[in-house]
């Protein structure tokens, strides 16, 4: 590829980087018990919720920021962040999409997410999180027919306190880690899903997260409970507008799969990664964990991570039920100055549990991409089975690809396999494509897509298409 060509692609602006000008009602920056109380009060939360938040806050104060990740960034100034921002129209929430602020809809348009069209055509119910408060939820009726509860977290706290009380923090305890504790104290909103016994959720559930107001950390909390014998597929996708200051994003996602239940959780993450010098960009510190509580349950994580300046994320599975299954499929792309430290934990506790890990890391520019994973087989987990494959692809001389897999095996009947490779796109592969008349850029895209195919095929159809396009966009400018 010619150098001008590279130049022009490298200099392309982040397509989804723009700011929607809507007035937001924010709390002043800083964090103390007053802020926690104020958040809880604004959301009209019951007493138990406030108490839970306050305990989390007190625990957070005693905890230290983790430093073990293979990441380098200036310390986060927790006192300069505003912990709550809600769109102005919070008081009278729109009942349907027609009532939604047109500017907001325009934002979604720019992102290429025609909310209602997409919802109707693709049969996807969308619970759009704009900043911190859910503003539009569709297809509720159809879901409620099936008995599925799909609503914002705040709504769940008010309408289904018994479920929230029972399951909140049962997978990711308040003091699980520094960011989980912070989230527990100040979480703003998120999604709540409950699939009743024996129900197969009639459609794929989807939430689009966006970070919009400047300096506002977004702290979503997602809780998905799949009761016995149920099935749900949940899609999470995000984009964020361009910013010059780092934005903190510390979400917690908890999944509970009871006997025979299956949860498929797919993510396409495309937060603003910062400019080519690494200025701006989202700090993404996420705790995601699924608990296969019942026998024969299954939790599958699929993620395509292309955004964020810093990614710190380990979607995990606790395989407690007999014969339960955990899966993790991941494509993580880091370009320019991006840094990612991501992977999974598979904790085998029950008998005959099995897990599969497929991780594909792509590093380009000056990015650092690390896979960090743990496979742990407890003494009582007879017949545990794990297969891990983690491959890294390097594009460019200045990037880094790292693997830190941990295996802790305490049962002799476990069968554990781990393999990893690191390589660059071979000159032979490129040459072959080029002599068939394929441009260098297309050839690289093709090879990269082939590299990621195993993961893409796990994504729901509409997501797979988006992910593939996203990957091409993310890597443009990286190839030379």
């Amino acid at each position: 590829m010619t150098s001008e060509n590279i130049e022009s692609i490298v200099n392309r602006r982040y397509e989804h980087g723009f700011v929607t000008d809507i007035e937001t009602e924010s709390l002043p920056p800083g964090l103390d018990e007053g802020v926690v109380r104020a958040i809880s009060a604004r959301k009209n939360e019951p007493e138990f919720m406030l108490e839970w938040r306050l305990q989390a806050y007190r625990q957070w104060l005693e905890m230290a920021e983790p430093e073990w990740a293979h990441l380098h960034y200036p310390p986060v100034k927790f006192n300069e962040i505003s912990y709550y921002a809600a769109p102005k129209s919070d008081a009278d929430r729109p009942k349907s999409l027609d009532e939604v602020d047109p500017k907001l809809l325009e934002t979604y348009d720019k992102l290429g997410i025609p909310l209602h069209e997409r919802a109707r055509l693709a049969g996807v119910a969308v619970d759009a999180v704009f900043d911190s408060v859910s503003v539009a939820t569709t297809f509720k009726d159809k879901l409620s027919e099936a008995g599925v509860i799909f609503c914002s977290f705040s709504e769940a706290v008010r309408e289904h306190p018994e479920l929230v009380k029972k399951y909140l923090g049962s997978v990711v305890p308040r003091r699980d880690n520094f960011y989980a504790a912070l989230n527990s104290a100040v979480f703003s909103d998120g999604s709540f899903v409950y699939i009743p016994k024996g129900v197969r959720c009639p459609m794929e559930l989807s939430t689009y997260f966006r970070i919009n107001a400047a300096n506002t950390g977004q702290f979503e909390r997602t809780l998905i409970i799949a009761d016995e014998g149920s099935h749900v597929s949940y899609l999470e996708g995000c984009t964020a507008p361009m910013r010059d200051e780092n934005q903190l994003h510390a979400a917690v996602v908890e999944l509970v799969a009871l006997e025979g239940a299956e949860i498929k959780y797919s993510t396409v993450q495309n937060w603003y990664p910062g400019d080519e010098n690494g200025v701006g960009g989202i700090y993404n510190f996420v705790t995601k964990r699924g608990d296969c509580r019942g026998a024969n349950s299954k939790i599958s994580w699929t993620q395509v991570e292309t955004g964020s300046a810093i990614t710190w994320k380990y979607p995990s599975c606790l395989l407690r039920g007999e014969n339960s299954v955990g899966e993790f499929y991941s494509v993580a792309v880091a370009n320019n100055m991006q840094q990612a430290d991501t992977g999974t934990k598979m904790i085998h506790i029950g008998a005959n549990t099995s897990s599969t890990i497929v991780s594909k890391g792509i590093s380009a520019g000056k990015a650092q991409n690390a896979y960090r994973g743990l496979v742990k087989v407890m003494p009582q987990a007879h017949g545990a089975r794990n297969h891990t494959q983690c491959d890294s692809l390097l594009i460019g001389k200045e990037c880094g690809a790292h693997t830190f897999p941990y295996m802790e095996i305490k049962n002799p009947s476990a069968r554990i396999e781990h393999e990893a490779t690191t390589s660059k796109i071979s000159a032979d592969q490129l040459f072959y494509c080029r002599q068939r008349g394929i441009s260098e850029e297309d050839a690289v895209n093709m090879i990269v897509n082939g590299f990621c195919k195993e993961v893409f095929k796990e994504l729901p159809m509409e997501f797979a298409v988006e992910a593939q396009a996203l990957l091409n966009v993310s890597l443009e400018g990286a190839v030379g």
Partner: protein
């Protein structure tokens, strides 16, 4: 559980009691390092799975008791030395209970030997355990191999403790001249019913286009504590072919650091660890690829039976600009008991793009069908298990690069496996 700290005051006294020779400045510097940083605990990433508690406990008891170094006139020790020297035909340099003994060394072999105390050159002291080694080192050996020799060089580090607790240090620097083809055997052994902690540091400098074949045998008494560090720096186009065998010991920690600073180097190193009741064997390896092209390849295999724990942590770092690096890591484990644990961690840190790196790790059991096949042929379960585990280990025994040591390794592995498989079939 909080780890006991090393008692620095007792250590200082012990250091001050040592002879005022050329090593004193280094000892004091090492002491200051230890005073400042202490020894690592399980909170340190590199020590996550290995608690140095027993080593510290033995050290503290020994230091509190006056930190005396036993002389080598002991009969038991003499017998043990004679047995090993009889089994492997090598030119032996002996460090017994931390004291250098050159009585079995043939000076006419062309290998040049000097003691640290004869010159003021400083020696390795970059990690806490190397600091401890430097602080308490009685004397070290500087060995230069100028040309290929008839017999391999043997370094026998042997200790004997019959009561209480004892600690000993060994430090050997080996320099292999450019173009030279050298064979080295490191043999670590210990006897006696007391508690013992042996701590060794060996550096291996391989000259340009030289070939080093290195075998390490660790056959300490079960229950004895050992930590050993081997730092190798191969020169341009140099080759290092190494194999290590861990058969004994209680708490064992081996650190192998290979620093590839010159292009064209080719390093192959393999390891076998056989662990039974009461053993904890930790192998940490680190290869720094600073320039390319260069290749490194390692394969470690473990057989674990009874109540034991093994750790394998392989790290390959490909530094920026080290294009043409080829790095491979493999680790395979056979877990044969309910109470055995393996913690494996193959790490790759890569900062260059023209590289080929891979690692593979497996944890499993013996193949049921293979066991069944052997049973149908009339072998009992123990025999069948022994045969299959033997096959698993034999591959690595066959890769021992020093011919003179193969018979001894074979017999040690066979007898250790026979013991292990008896424990639980």
């Amino acid at each position: 559980m909080k780890q006991v700290a090393l008692s620095i005051d007792d250590l200082r006294e012990a250091v001050l009691r040592m002879p005022d020779d050329a090593l004193m400045a280094t000892r004091e510097a090492a002491l200051a390092n230890l005073d400042e940083h202490g020894l690592p605990s399980v909170r340190d990433e590199d020590w996550k799975y290995t608690d140095l508690g027993p080593a510290i406990d033995i050290s503290n008891r020994w230091l509190a008791n006056g930190a005396t170094i036993t002389t080598t006139s002991n009969d038991l020790l003499a017998d043990a030395i004679a047995a090993i020297a009889g089994a492997i035909d090598a030119n032996w340099l002996i460090i017994a209970n931390g004291v250098i003994d050159t009585s079995r060394f043939d000076e006419s072999s062309g290998i040049e030997v000097q003691r640290f105390s004869e010159s003021a050159a400083p020696f390795v002291m970059d990690r806490p355990l190397a600091d401890l080694n430097a602080a308490l080192l009685n004397d070290g050996l500087r060995v230069q191999i100028h040309a290929a020799t008839e017999k391999p060089l043997g370094i026998l580090i042997i200790d004997e403790t019959n009561a209480g607790a004892a600690v000993s240090q060994a430090n050997v620097e080996i320099e292999i001249a450019p173009g030279c083809d050298a064979e080295v055997i490191e043999y670590q052994s210990s006897t006696g019913t007391g508690d013992h902690f042996g701590n060794s540091v060996i550096t291996l400098q391989i000259g340009q286009a030289a070939i080093a074949s290195y075998v390490r045998i660790q056959n300490r008494r079960i229950g004895h504590v050992q930590s050993g560090r081997l730092c190798a720096t191969p020169g341009r186009d140099a080759r290092l072919n190494m194999a290590s065998y861990d058969l004994g010991g209680g708490l064992v920690r081996n650190d192998v650091d290979i620093d590839l600073g010159e292009p064209g180097a080719d390093v192959v190193f393999n390891g076998l660890y056989l662990a039974g009741d009461g053993q904890h064997i930790d192998n940490h390896t680190r290869v720094d690829h600073r320039v390319g092209p260069a290749s490194s390849s390692q394969e470690y295999r473990g057989i674990l039976n009874g109540r034991c724990r093994c750790v394998w942590n392989g790290k390959a770092i490909v530094h920026a600009g080290a294009d043409g690096t080829d790095a491979n890591q493999a680790n395979h484990n056979l877990l044969l008991s309910e109470h055995a644990e393996i913690d494996a961690k193959p790490e790759l840190e890569i900062y260059a793009d023209d590289v080929k790196c891979s690692h593979g790790t497996t944890v499993g059991q013996l193949d049921e069908t293979a066991l069944f096949y052997l049973r149908t042929r009339g072998l009992d379960k123990r025999q069948a298990t022994q045969l299959l585990t033997h096959a698993f280990a034999a591959d690595l025994v066959g890769r021992a690069p020093v011919a003179a040591a193969i018979d001894e390794i074979t017999s040690l592995v066979e007898s250790r496996l026979a013991d292990l498989i008896q424990e639980e079939a």
